[in-house]
Subunit: 759 residues, 2 copies
Amino acid sequence: MSRLLLTLMAGWLSVSTVLAQSGSSAMQTGSTATQSGSLKGFGSDASAQQSLEARFDGYLDASRLGERLKIMSARPHHVGSPGGKAVAEYIYDQYKRFGFEVRIDTFYVLFPTPKVRELEMTGPTQYKALLKEPALKEDATSGQSDEQLPTYNAWSADGDVSGELVFVNYGLPSDYEQLARRGIDVKGKIVIAKYGRSWRGIKPKVAQEHGAIGCIIYSDPKDDGYYEGDVYPKGAFKNEYGVQRGSVMDMPIYPGDPLTPGIGATKDAPRIDRKDAINLLKIPVLPISYHDAEPLLKSLEGPVAPEDWRGALPFTYHIGPGKTKVHLKLEFNWDIKPIYDVIATVPGKDFPDQWVIRGNHHDAWVNGAGDPLSGQAAMLEEAHAVGELLKTGWKPRRTLVYCSWDGEEPALLGSTEWVEQNAATLQQHAVAYINSDGNGRGFLNAEGSHAFEPFLEQVARDVTDPETGISVLERRWAREIINATGDKAKELLNKKSFSIGALGSGSDYSPFIQHIGVPSIDLGYGGEDPGGEYHSIYDSYDDYVRFKDPGFVYGVVLAKTAGRTMLRLADADLLPFDYPSLAKNIKTYSTEVNALLDQERESTALQNKLIKGGYYHLAADPKTPIAAPDPKDEVPYLNFAPLQNAVVGLEKSSTHLNDLLSKRLPSGDTLQQLNTGLYQAEQQLLSTQGLPRRGWYKHSIYAPGFYTGYGVKTLPGIREAIEQRYWKEAQDQIDLDASILNHFSQYLDKLGSTAYPQQ
Amino acid sequence: MSRLLLTLMAGWLSVSTVLAQSGSSAMQTGSTATQSGSLKGFGSDASAQQSLEARFDGYLDASRLGERLKIMSARPHHVGSPGGKAVAEYIYDQYKRFGFEVRIDTFYVLFPTPKVRELEMTGPTQYKALLKEPALKEDATSGQSDEQLPTYNAWSADGDVSGELVFVNYGLPSDYEQLARRGIDVKGKIVIAKYGRSWRGIKPKVAQEHGAIGCIIYSDPKDDGYYEGDVYPKGAFKNEYGVQRGSVMDMPIYPGDPLTPGIGATKDAPRIDRKDAINLLKIPVLPISYHDAEPLLKSLEGPVAPEDWRGALPFTYHIGPGKTKVHLKLEFNWDIKPIYDVIATVPGKDFPDQWVIRGNHHDAWVNGAGDPLSGQAAMLEEAHAVGELLKTGWKPRRTLVYCSWDGEEPALLGSTEWVEQNAATLQQHAVAYINSDGNGRGFLNAEGSHAFEPFLEQVARDVTDPETGISVLERRWAREIINATGDKAKELLNKKSFSIGALGSGSDYSPFIQHIGVPSIDLGYGGEDPGGEYHSIYDSYDDYVRFKDPGFVYGVVLAKTAGRTMLRLADADLLPFDYPSLAKNIKTYSTEVNALLDQERESTALQNKLIKGGYYHLAADPKTPIAAPDPKDEVPYLNFAPLQNAVVGLEKSSTHLNDLLSKRLPSGDTLQQLNTGLYQAEQQLLSTQGLPRRGWYKHSIYAPGFYTGYGVKTLPGIREAIEQRYWKEAQDQIDLDASILNHFSQYLDKLGSTAYPQQ
């Protein structure tokens, strides 16, 4: 799995992130937060740290990074494969060489692999799907078919189904509303959905909720193929045979080994029955190429698909159903496989019990040069440079923990089981978790706990973009301005604040932040590295060096960015958490959910009025009728006051704490108690019971969306209750979040009064 | 030519037209203007007129309408063809039977037809374009190749050119800005542009302005083909061989015979040299099918086309130039041909010198069942019903003039020459000109002089939509509401005003309103009749009855709508002009051009700032660089006060006149002087010199756009000066329009004081 596709899908510029700048030219910086020289948490003189970072940079080497990427991507290395074990051992060996303490934490997880894969159209004409990506002479590893996982979706159910085919666009709830208005029901039928607009696992989940007996997912060339640009191997985009593998476990309920929810999947852990795992599908699902999708879609009859459903294949898209019938047969080996998390540690010299954790997965769907090895290789190069610093006698003040995770692709297995196994210890010791995944040429993408905003702004200020020579902060900001229009561009040009996106899911930070409340950051570069290799056999070294990051330049930039993040967190006197930034963001989210309810109320009232007045009927073409939507229940007013008051309280408490911290630092144990209190604060945002219907997700501010999958929902309890029209639950969640925020404010107050007893 | 495609292109719902309604259900009407029973211009009792209209409706017969459509579309009937002459004679005969006085006014016009048409790709591979639409067994007239005009663009220059090919998107000025930012110059090259987004003639004009030596225009299946729906003959949309013929004369300079600008092209009229006609192109232009375009476009290299340039052909769209070379050879017969305007008259019994004029063209590019015969057949059925009324002894109070125009397709030839020939007489006698053209199933589309707004609202109120049983006014309004979103839908639901779109060009109203200031209206139905037959051999009877208006139901609806318009204008005591409606719309346009200048100033300032700050460079991908746009001159402030004051004056004068008219009517000659003054008022909006660089267009409020072709520009002198950044000219035009409006207000004041001397 990876952020990368998600980022492409969402359009990274829509992330609500604004980079700071002042003055009339992009070459100047001037905002207080980005004052060159100052480093948050290092007092008045940060020169020693800056000189350390300069030395750190000096140890980074792009060609060595590329060499490691080439070695690790030399053969397929998915969960449970010989290649996977070899990569774990290689990484183990590297950390050893860097002088780290290394161990491999092994877990035993369910991991299905295909035994039978058959898809055929049985009417009105015959077509047997290829289900195969061909080897290419331009791609040296593409022919390793003996070791490649075939094209499939992990966690599909076993199944042997036949039925009429229905095209369901992206397979989202709103698409089924459109089907219903056209009198089309998918019950007992097989659906075909396009990849995109949601995490893939949402598509079969929603299909199953609507009674479909099977689900096919294909890559339309409009979203992922020739419409975007020249196809592989001429260009980077998906050719007609490319297939996106990937997990379809219902991870928005819980990730990790489905048989051991909430606990580490050790050899002897108690396991539930597979049939009791509520995050596993009941219907078979198969991903296919657009070569295989074309005859099926072309054969469909029934209504012409609405304009925004149509892709780039050269025919008229119809919805079906009709004479087009397909037969889908899938069987899997449901084996328990070992996974290998490589954990490498550098003990802190001053505060060994405070851990700064870094992670990137090492398992891939096939060769995975981009996903995940581009991030893994950058992380190893970062660790290498730390090792070089160690050789000079430097030691971090806090403990560094580097984690190379296994099993991320199927279900964040390695990170989730490790976090579940070590939850209490981590909640005690973990200062932060810094994640990366696939990486490429382009712009900084930073998401994370909002208390890190000013800290990350400084990091981005201090890393230079190799293509333009300005900071990565300024470059990203330039692009946002150019892509904005009118007033928005003017606003960006004048604005001096920096904000980072909230974390949804899609990589290994999820268990850290959302399950146990460890402050987390996800870092990566991209936006000048688009392509169609994602989760296919063409995510290869040959592809990577041509299209993703020639010369591994942005691998080094990622190492500099994550390296600074690690070193500053490790060595800061005062940990650089800024809770007014969190308060500011929560205030925005609170305003949003309030507005969401109002919009929902207004649009419901209007729509009901239009239904009742007969306008849908009067406006429709009687030859291709589209029925009115069903009327919806009117939206009540809810009491947001508890939440609004709690946000005001949080603004006060967090500002008061910052005022105290800005005066002088306490010393000795008091300072370290203060630091511990600062990094444990995020845990106060967890609720005991977790989110409704998915208690594994305990964070009250951030969660992946129940119907978006990767995409974040902020204040998820409230927001999703409104979206799903559970009005009573929405009020309960408002009250719950208010009490959590009030508790959080009290926590900050206590932290301040303990550290500064005289104030 | 026809409104139809334009309507599809523009999306008729974007026309700023709002239909009136009150109450909570679409079934009720209640606005004052639409009070059932009242008829504008008929005093307190309109029952006689309503009973006349009921009888009129009773004479309309759909199958007879369809029979005439079948007869007239039985063979190709373009300008100068035997079929064209036969159709004119058939129409002549019909009017005779209805009891009208009929004559044929013949003009002699230049009309080029193809002699040589060759297009081939000469490198890197060979392809010879078919340039041919095949006959289909499902389409009885499609095989009449002996009489069909081949696929071509009339008024292309003769030419024999070879060069590199460049894809220029829709071929608009903004597309060339994108090319320039990518370092691509079309000088000495041949461009290929997609049909759509502008009238076709704009594409070669802009190509020529940029130094291209030839222009190919093709129909992309995304805009006009399988992307929209099933293709002909399975469905209505353009198949791979379909080609849109059409004129590429620069009609935004002047329409009509290019050799007789401003005067009627009678046999002996003085003619200019063809090389001196400034509305004729210097480069060859050819329209092709997407079958013929595919190999050319697929062969292109160079940068990948920007996303909004890409069509629905199954490959990556590149811009070129490169190895792809084409050879284009075109030669034409430049012959003078006779055109036959059939003019049928019913003298008015009370005011024979006040003429209410109706028109629709009869010439087609090929068989033209939809364009123009669906409108022509509806007009003949309307005339038939008038004839039946005449038989009962009824006579119109004013003179009715029915005009079946020839030569509309190449250049509005028949109407323009007739108007130029009879300009002075028409300015004296013409009460109004009511136009139609192609017609089909769906919603009322009404555009025209804004003083007709309340009048047309009543007409639309009184015609029933056959598909829903409500008025065509209410049905259109229902659709606007359903297609609007959020606040706009609420606003529409509550709004009770009706407005009609302003007239651009694309059909025969253009010379009436824009050259000589005769108040004009264009009427038609559509929106449930999309298809790809426009200007192809497939615009046939077989196509029409399947896809456009099965049963000719909307043909009858058009006859009812235009018939009511004619009968009410013919018989009204007081002509139903409402000048406060005109004032209201001019106020909107005045606000718009003011806002346009402000937006232009702001966006210029911002863009110049971004260019100077280097942001374009910083945001660009160095591997696929896109240069910053060129800086533009800063936008000055202009003095809008004269215009704003003139608009206030017009509001006062027009309201004062309406107040007078609402009290009591003058009698006898004074009333008829008043009526004459009312219908001649629009002439007061003409300027002597016409628009800059195109003096044929004399109306100060309405003109087709210099760079849009059909699309209207309101306050065109001011608006286009701003768009083209002629600041000095913009100020001159503001002052000119202000003085025209002041003069217009004085005219209305005088009209009132003459008719009501005591007030």
